[in-house]
């Protein structure tokens, strides 16, 4: 046991009849070049329980999960299945021991039907497939865990929540007794999360064990029977007892200090109109992506766009940034029409854009911080790196970017630091002083400390009088930061509400397309 680890709030309801341990990992050590991902980690899951692995990005929870399912092999330590030692050389070996992982990024073939995906990888089906029989089997497995799904549906046409269900059904069909769910709620709307949690309950009732991997405190408290908290590859605490846990305590174990997660909406005056969007419509490959979108943002105002991924958010941001030409409608930034004029024109009147895709779109991975600062600025014919060097060093200090200096390569930055470089460049202005900042999923994939910093940077920018468009799939983020919230569903604004009085259930319903006409 390491010295930082301790027991908190021993749950009482398990003391009566403790189920047998289904899977346990002992003294797991896993090292990657330069990183000790798992440092002497112990973990176990009992039959019929939900045991959560909680931790920030890079805490080692995904590594541990990969070891538990056979994807990685530990450098030392061992696994026990029902008390007997086992060696997992591959995920297939894991499956033979009844252990399956549902990955965050689904591993499904879009063109295949549900049952084709479910049987993919099964070896003992014979040469000729008996589709009728397979369909019945798949439907039966799905039905028995309350996961209704049409075996003949083509996966590419399913919603994200349904695809996840296919992954789970696949694991169950292959005989999984222990399911590892890697950040399963990251891609779901609130209503789908509830459904998922119902499914989890029906699986645990049937004696399945669930290893739930997450960094979202609220849902962890709701779903878990026990929680193991990881930080820097070590176990920093065990918490048990459903619903009795203090999120503040979990957050402290996770980060190692007290943190304030809910950045407060700053009070500030709202100024003149900076962005005006009128009747914006856009089609890509004859599919309507944006439909008659109109709104405006004022100086010192933050407008949040909520919505499930793929409802036109990314395209809206790209269109405002001048990367896509709309089919119709107009965009005006500080009085200048920028529709159809390209990204450089938009930047010249004060646009700054932090895209969702940090490395690869916002930043060039193989280039230095210095060169990346030049990306959206005016470079001379012979690139002038000397005169920007002092500014680069200053920004690295000011934004507390952990780097060896301006020549540090972007791809060697952690997610949080990459995001800080991006924000540093966009907030410091390039071709002109920043007046409108468009940010997409600014905290996605960041650890809690970085989330705190990024949110306070956004708040500071707003206080400084910049107009901000915050596009995020993290509903909590939009709810806690934005002055005004618009919900985008199938490319249209279906709901608008002031941030201070927004209701989670109404916004959630609008995101799921349950509000027919936009209420204000």
């Amino acid at each position: 046991m390491n010295d930082t680890s301790h027991e908190v709030a021993q749950g009482s309801h398990h003391l009566g009849g403790v189920a047998p341990t289904a899977l346990s990992a002992h003294n797991i050590v896993k090292r990657f070049p330069g990183v000790l991902a798992n440092d002497n980690v112990d973990f176990d899951v009992r039959a019929g329980e939900v045991h959560t692995l909680l931790g920030e990005n890079g805490a080692g929870k995904s590594t541990l999960a990969a070891i538990l399912c056979g994807l990685y092999q530990p450098d030392s330590g061992y696994l026990l299945r029902n008390g007997k030692p086992m060696h997992l050389s591959s995920p297939r070996a894991g499956l033979q021991h009844g252990i399956a992982m549902v990955h965050q990024h689904f591993r499904l073939v879009d063109r295949f039907t549900v049952s084709e995906n479910v049987i993919l990888g099964s070896r003992d089906l014979g040469f000729r497939l008996n589709r009728k029989e397979i369909n019945e089997q798949v439907a039966a497995v799905a039905e028995s865990f309350g996961l209704p799904i049409d075996p003949n549906a083509v996966v590419g046409e399913l919603s994200v929540g349904q695809r996840q269900r296919v992954e789970i059904v696949k694991a169950l069909y292959q005989g999984a007794e222990i399911l590892l769910l890697d950040e399963p709620t990251a891609v779901l709307v609130p209503a789908e999360v509830e459904k998922l949690f119902d499914n989890v309950h029906s699986m645990t009732k049937a004696g399945k064990s669930i290893v739930f991997i997450s960094h979202k405190l609220g849902e962890v408290v709701e779903i878990s029977d026990r929680v193991t908290v990881l930080r820097n590859g070590r176990v920093t605490g065990h918490v048990s007892g459903k619903g009795t846990t203090d999120t503040r305590e979990l957050a402290r174990l996770m980060v190692g200090r007290d943190i304030e997660l809910n950045a407060q909406r700053a009070t500030h005056p709202i100024g003149h109109e900076v962005l005006q969007i009128r009747n914006l419509s856009l089609s890509i490959n004859e599919v309507e992506v944006l439909s008659d979108v109109s709104f405006n943002i004022h100086a010192g105002e933050m407008v949040g766009i909520a919505g499930v991924a793929g409802n036109g958010q990314r395209e809206l941001a790209d269109t405002i940034a001048g990367l896509i030409s709309p089919a119709s409608g107009s965009i005006t930034i500080s009085g200048a029409m920028t529709t159809d004029r390209g990204p450089i024109q938009a930047r010249e009147v004060g646009l700054a854009y932090v895209p969702e895709d940090r490395l690869g779109m916002g930043l060039v991975p193989s280039m230095s911080i210095l060169d990346n600062l030049l990306l959206t600025r005016d470079r001379k014919v012979i690139v002038d790196r000397t005169s920007i060097r002092p500014e680069a060093s200053r920004l690295i200090d000011q934004f507390e970017i952990k780097a060896n200096g301006p020549d540090h390569l972007a791809r060697k930055l952690s997610g949080g630091n990459a995001q800080k470089v991006l924000l540093a460049r966009e907030l410091s202005g390039g071709r002109s002083a920043t007046k409108l900042l468009v940010v997409c999923s600014p905290t996605r994939g960041l650890d809690v400390g970085a989330i705190e910093t990024v949110r306070s940077l956004l708040n500071d920018a707003r206080s400084a009088g910049q107009a901000i468009l915050l596009i995020s799939e993290d509903l909590d983020e939009v709810m806690s930061l934005a002055d005004r919230i618009l919900v985008l569903y199938r490319g249209a604004v279906v709901h608008e509400t002031p941030g201070a009085t927004a209701s989670l259930s109404t916004v959630g319903a609008a995101m799921a397309g349950l509000l027919e006409n936009g209420g204000v």
Binding site: P33, S89, R347, V364, S366, L375, V383, L409
Partner: protein, 365 residues
């Protein structure tokens, strides 16, 4: 029963500098070792063969000048390939662009008359050669930058067309490019003012300096200029280029045209240099294709192409002389070229990954 060992590839964060220099050297040594197996199997002494090759290619004064002479055109085709490769544009039609450079250069050398001084004629021949090379890649460049059509296929296929074109201009009886004074099909000589003098009694021409300076200048362009910055952004992430308002179509077009022009320049250098006419046997020499290997060996570093180009030329010169002095087949040199490429590419794995063989342990409780 599976062996209780596994080969583990650990990705390196950054390749150590030491390895970056070591891998090409070890690749060459490994290729020589590989070649030695064949030499032994066919009854030749690898040590004698390689000693001869080395002294013929690099050590004797004749060898050195011949090597540098050959490297002139190889550096051109090498930078032609590398300039495009570094932006992930695979112009593998340098061979055809080289032929066109010969034709374009010869046309200028024959047509632009005997009245112009050498100081103007030679640059004109080089410029026309470069233009012809650029022209030959224009259609592949256009469809690649507008429609995304694979330049690999289009540039390669055009090489076959270019090769037939060379045959056509030489073997057609009343062709403009054919020497009218001989019945044997030969290229027509360019005017005397379009030819350079070689150094002393060597086969080395001043064009070697043009090739080396070009390599260094292009290296600087890529490192220091806005154009180079754009190339680097597009090479790494086209999405970032789009985001920053960099016109990828235009840059792709420019890079491909320059690549074609460089290969064409190599062809024109053969006109002002050794040949003074279109030489139909060029289609058997593969200078354009060799550029691909040279670029790979230099890992598309434009300045390093000078070194890999000379190394490659030396191997080839050594191989050719070997056949004359001993009876070792010339193909040993060609085989070594191929082997060097293979080992250089294989060596990349060692640069990018730390490779370990580990014993799979049984579980202990």
């Amino acid at each position: 029963m599976r062996l209780p060992i596994r080969v583990v590839f650990d990705q390196r964060g950054e390749a150590p500098k030491r390895l970056t220099a070591l891998v090409p050297i070890v690749s060459v040594l490994a290729a020589l070792f590989f070649g030695a197996i064949f030499l032994l199997a066919t009854g030749y002494s690898p040590i004698d063969t390689y000693t001869n090759m080395f002294s013929d290619g690099f050590a004797s004064s004749r060898g050195v000048t011949d090597t540098l002479a050959l490297s002139t055109v190889l550096i051109c085709t090498g930078i032609a390939a590398a300039f495009a490769f570094q932006m992930n544009i695979y112009n593998i039609g340098g061979e055809g662009q080289l032929y066109l450079g010969m034709i374009g250069g010869a046309w200028a050398g024959i047509t632009l008359g005997d009245h112009l001084p050498s100081l103007i004629m030679v640059p004109l021949v080089l410029i026309f050669g470069a233009l012809a090379g650029a022209l030959w890649i224009f259609v592949p460049a256009f469809v690649r930058s507008r429609l995304g059509t694979s330049e690999i296929v289009s540039t390669l296929l055009l090489t076959y067309v270019a090769s037939s074109l060379i045959d056509y201009v030489i073997y057609t009886p009343d062709s403009f490019f054919r020497n009218p004074n001989t019945s044997f099909p030969q290229g027509r000589l360019v005017s005397a003012s379009a030819k350079l003098q070689s150094f002393g009694d060597t086969r080395l021409y001043p064009t070697i300096f043009v090739a080396i300076v070009l390599a260094v200048v292009l290296y600087w362009v890529v490192k220091r200029t806005e154009f180079g910055y754009r190339i680097n952004v597009i090479a790494d992430s086209p999405k970032a280029a789009h985001y920053a308002g960099i016109n990828a179509k235009r840059t792709t077009m420019s890079v491909m045209l320059i690549s074609g022009a460089l290969a064409g320049l190599g062809g024109a250098m053969l006109i002002v240099g050794p040949y003074g006419k279109i030489e139909p046997s060029i289609v058997n020499l593969g200078y354009g294709y060799a550029g691909i290997v040279i670029a790979a060996l230099a890992r598309n570093n434009l300045a390093a192409i000078v070194v890999s180009g000379i190394l490659f030329a030396g191997l080839r010169v050594g191989g050719e002389k070997l056949q004359i002095s001993t009876d070792t087949p010339i193909h040993i040199g060609v085989m070594l070229q191929g082997a060097i490429l293979l080992f250089a590419l294989g060596g990349e794995a060692f640069r990018r990954y730390k490779i370990r063989v580990v014993l799979v342990r049984a579980v202990t409780t």
